[in-house]
């Protein structure tokens, strides 16, 4: 009667599960963001359009001041008309189309800009000073800013490099390079290329900032979680298992799956039963901190948690906030550097102090050891966060910061 049956084989051997992909709202929010569509980049794109328009006005003024120099004004007038029409239509389309720009639209946009550059070059070719007289073709480089939030960075950089190449070839073919002309050529090429390069760089930084902040804010919600929680991932997992069981049973009930079951279906039923049983028995054993670390992209990679007594669950919201933001600050400072910092968090075991603590509170020792964080590079904000948790002492271990914190918490037996 005590024979171990197939439904009760242990599934988890030790500790940590492989992190499943973020679920639900998290996934819905992060994915479009990873593709680079939303969250503030719209406003940033609008700013890029404003820059583009202001630069066009400046270019137009330059063009008018050169009016007498052109041997034939027709092509350059055409270039400017085409450029202004292109950016006007592009701004209208982008403000109505929203956050997507199909590849073919981008291709048409690039073709139009190429037309602008060709017409401008045609007009100034005989002048023998490309850098000095280029106007619409330089503006075309700024025109690329219009789509900086909508297309991948490398696509913009490719277009921008092509423009640079066109300038260099044209300059080499037409302009005698002397000390008098060279600075102008250099500045002109830089002016045509720099906007999109800087734009791509800024946007990348902006997206990274938004993602980091989003990750932090999402994880922040764990500070108000109960002492033990199922977590977003496990909760969805249970719903998924219930649904799978429902579908299987329904298929059997309606006769879609014939009885007796094929070995494949039987093994599906067996593994469903095993997973479901373990989920139900396992219950709520993980603390908010475990969920915070596994759900976060940033913390999940850098933080290792040891909390055998699940003591993290006893911390009050202020202490949780301090711990989470302290660890966050330690890790996020180095998220992109070559020597990423890691954090080892050890909570407990409970100290057996003879010290009388007021109001039946108990002391939970927390040790934070880090790597790649010298004591003199610690952000002051980290001390503020750690100070919220309780008394702490800092030292150096293996050339990196170590914190010993004593958190006073309410005795769970009194609750």
């Amino acid at each position: 009667m005590t024979e171990v049956n197939e439904t009760t084989q242990p599934r988890r051997i030790h500790g940590r599960r492989v992190k499943p992909s973020p679920t639900g709202l998290t996934r819905a929010l992060r994915q479009p963001n990873e593709r680079g569509a939303t969250l503030g980049t719209g406003h940033l794109g609008l700013g890029a359009s404003v820059l583009c328009v202001v630069q066009a006005l400046y270019g137009l003024a330059q063009f008018i001041s050169h009016w007498d120099a052109y041997p034939n004004t027709l092509p350059v007038v055409g270039a400017w008309a085409l450029y202004l029409a292109t950016i006007a239509v592009a701004i209208i389309i982008l403000s109505t189309l929203g956050d997507r720009l199909p590849l073919w639209t981008y291709a048409v946009f690039l073709l139009l800009l190429a037309g602008v550059v060709a017409l401008d070059f045609l007009a100034i070719w005989p002048l023998g000073n490309m850098g000095g007289y280029a106007t619409a073709s330089v503006s075309a480089g700024f025109g690329l800013l219009l789509v900086v939030t909508l297309r991948a960075g490398y696509e913009l950089l490719a277009a921008s490099s092509t423009l640079a190449l066109a300038f260099i070839v044209a300059i080499a073919l037409t302009t005698p390079l002397t000390a008098a002309t060279l600075p102008t050529q250099l500045v002109t090429v830089a002016l045509a290329v720099l906007p999109s390069v800087l734009g791509v760089m800024v946007l990348r930084g902006f997206r990274r900032m938004v993602q980091l902040e989003l990750d932090r804010v999402l994880v922040q919600s764990t500070v108000s979680a109960p002492r033990f929680a199922v977590g977003m991932l496990a909760s969805e997992e249970l719903a998924r298992l219930d649904l799978a069981a429902e579908e299987l049973l329904d298929a059997v009930a309606t006769g879609r799956t014939a009885l007796p079951l094929s070995p494949e279906s039987a093994s599906v039923a067996a593994s469903l039963a095993t997973e479901l049983r373990l989920h139900l028995i396992e219950g709520r054993r993980e603390t908010w901190l475990y969920h915070a670390i596994t759900e976060s992209e940033l913390l999940g990679k850098a933080v290792a948690l040891t909390d055998r007594g699940s003591l993290a669950g006893l911390l009050d919201p202020t202490q949780r906030d301090g711990l989470l933001s302290g660890v966050w600050l330690i890790v996020s400072d180095s998220a992109k550097s070559k020597a990423p910092r890691t954090v080892q968090l050890t909570i407990g075991p409970r100290a057996n102090t003879n010290e009388r603590l007021s109001g039946n509170r108990i002391a939970v020792p927390i040790v934070i050891t880090t790597t790649n964080l010298p004591r003199n590079r610690v952000d002051p904000a980290i001390w503020d966060s750690i100070g919220k948790m309780g008394r702490y002492g800092d030292s150096t271990q293996n050339g990196s910061l170590r914190l010993d914190i004593t958190c006073l918490v309410d005795n769970p037996a009194d609750r």
Binding site: A180, V187, V230, M232, E246
Partner: protein, 399 residues
């Protein structure tokens, strides 16, 4: 409590927020990229032979280098005076060079330093009155110096207009970038709020699903049967049972908390205490359908708290399932007795039995499914058996 403190932080001291730090980092990087590019372009241009005399170039060189160095240090060091030093060296380099340039063409060499280099540095600081004043002076100085170098008759030379345009574009871009951050941050916070609500909802949902224990017990029993391909059970009975369970799961999914109380009809009301008798009937019928005849003795009506009842019924069903699978007989006896504090069930079969010493009682199946569940509600289970003389299990739960 957490909500309001978070909100207060957002409203009053956004500069303390991590996103402000990230914003500053982004602005510093942009300043560095723009400034260093501008300074390097100018440096290369004036280094060309014939633009300025060599001694003048050599005089300006250290100023260029300190300027670039201060850009590199901005953001890395909290010392704000790097910015001041940078502005002075940048304007100084312009002044040294502008004194020696007398053609509009060569004046262009100064434009990158004036329009991108010094202007770029302005991105690295907060728009306070003092900084705005400093950079207004720097902008005016760079415009005047470039105009001087152009030495033309025109009111404003082409190079000077470029410098004005460069400052305008840089200021506009920097302002817009900084202004985009609070917008994004507001949206991120509202997402955070939604996420917190979702976390609580999902916690409640998980709790609801987990507490639907009786339902999951019958689902698990059915799945276990199916794992054996449903062999030994009449297909019609199997189908009916699967249909019942699928319906219960559907109700759970749609938001109800179904508690199977007797076969055929389900009570969807949450109840504090449940009568044992009617519930036992459903267990009996379930095993009847799958080929185990259960004879019931003793108390029919006992009131139990619903979590105790769930644990009790699950354990009972597990025991009967083990009898069905391993005992080799098709009959079992269940005797329910109760006294003032305890309800007791004795499950007996006259099957093949087994040697208790030969099998570890701690094996996962019995321990987790029966003992653990009973202990959770303050009960216990004991097992008696020997080879060839059947098995008896005694389950106890407190009233």
């Amino acid at each position: 409590m957490v909500d309001t403190s978070l909100l207060r932080n957002v409203q009053t001291s956004r500069d303390m927020e991590p996103i402000a730090k990230e914003r500053d980092r982004l602005l510093h990087r942009t300043a560095r990229a723009l400034g260093v590019t501008g300074a390097a372009l100018s440096l290369v241009s004036v280094a060309l032979p014939g633009v300025v005399p060599l001694p003048v170039f050599l005089t300006s060189l250290p100023l260029f280098l300190v300027f670039i160095g201060s850009l590199v240090m901005v953001g890395r060091s909290p010392w704000r005076r790097w910015v001041v030093l940078g502005v002075f060296c940048g304007v100084g380099a312009l002044a040294v060079l502008a004194g020696q340039i007398r053609t509009p063409d060569d004046a262009v060499a100064l434009v990158p330093l004036a329009a991108a280099g010094i202007a770029g540095l302005s991105l690295a600081v907060a728009p306070t009155v003092a900084w705005l004043a400093l950079f207004a002076i720097a902008a005016a100085a760079s415009v005047i110096l470039v105009q001087l170098a152009s030495a033309g008759d025109a009111l404003l030379s082409a190079a000077t207009v470029s410098v004005i345009a460069g400052w305008t574009l840089t200021a506009l871009g920097g302002y817009w970038l900084a202004a985009s951050v609070p917008r994004a941050s507001r949206r991120i916070y509202s997402i955070g709020k939604a996420h917190r609500a979702e976390r609580h909802a999902s916690e409640t949902e998980a709790q609801r699903r987990q507490s639907a224990r009786l339902l999951h017990d019958t689902v698990l029993a059915t799945l276990t049967l199916l794992a054996h391909s449903g062999v030994g059970v009449a297909p019609a009975a199997m189908q009916q049972q699967a249909g019942d369970d699928a319906r219960l799961l559907r109700q759970l999914r749609l938001g109800a908390t179904p508690t199977p109380q007797s076969s055929g009809s389900y009570n969807l009301e949450p109840v504090e205490e449940t009568v044992l008798g009617t519930t036992l009937e459903s267990v009996k019928q379930r095993f009847g359908r799958i080929g185990l005849e259960v004879t019931w003795h003793g108390t029919g009506q006992v009131l139990l708290p619903s979590d105790v009842l769930d644990a009790f019924l699950l354990s009972l069903a597990e025991c009967l399932e083990n009898v069905r699978r391993h005992s080799g007989v098709t009959q079992a006896d269940v005797t329910i007795t109760d006294d003032a504090t305890t309800v007791r069930a004795m499950v007996t079969d006259s099957g093949i039995g087994f040697d208790l010493a030969g099998i570890d009682e701690d094996k996962l199946g019995f321990k987790e499914s029966v003992v653990a569940r009973l202990r959770e509600v303050g009960g216990n289970a004991r097992l008696f058996s020997s080879q060839g003389s059947g098995t008896t299990v005694v389950l106890e739960v407190p009233k």
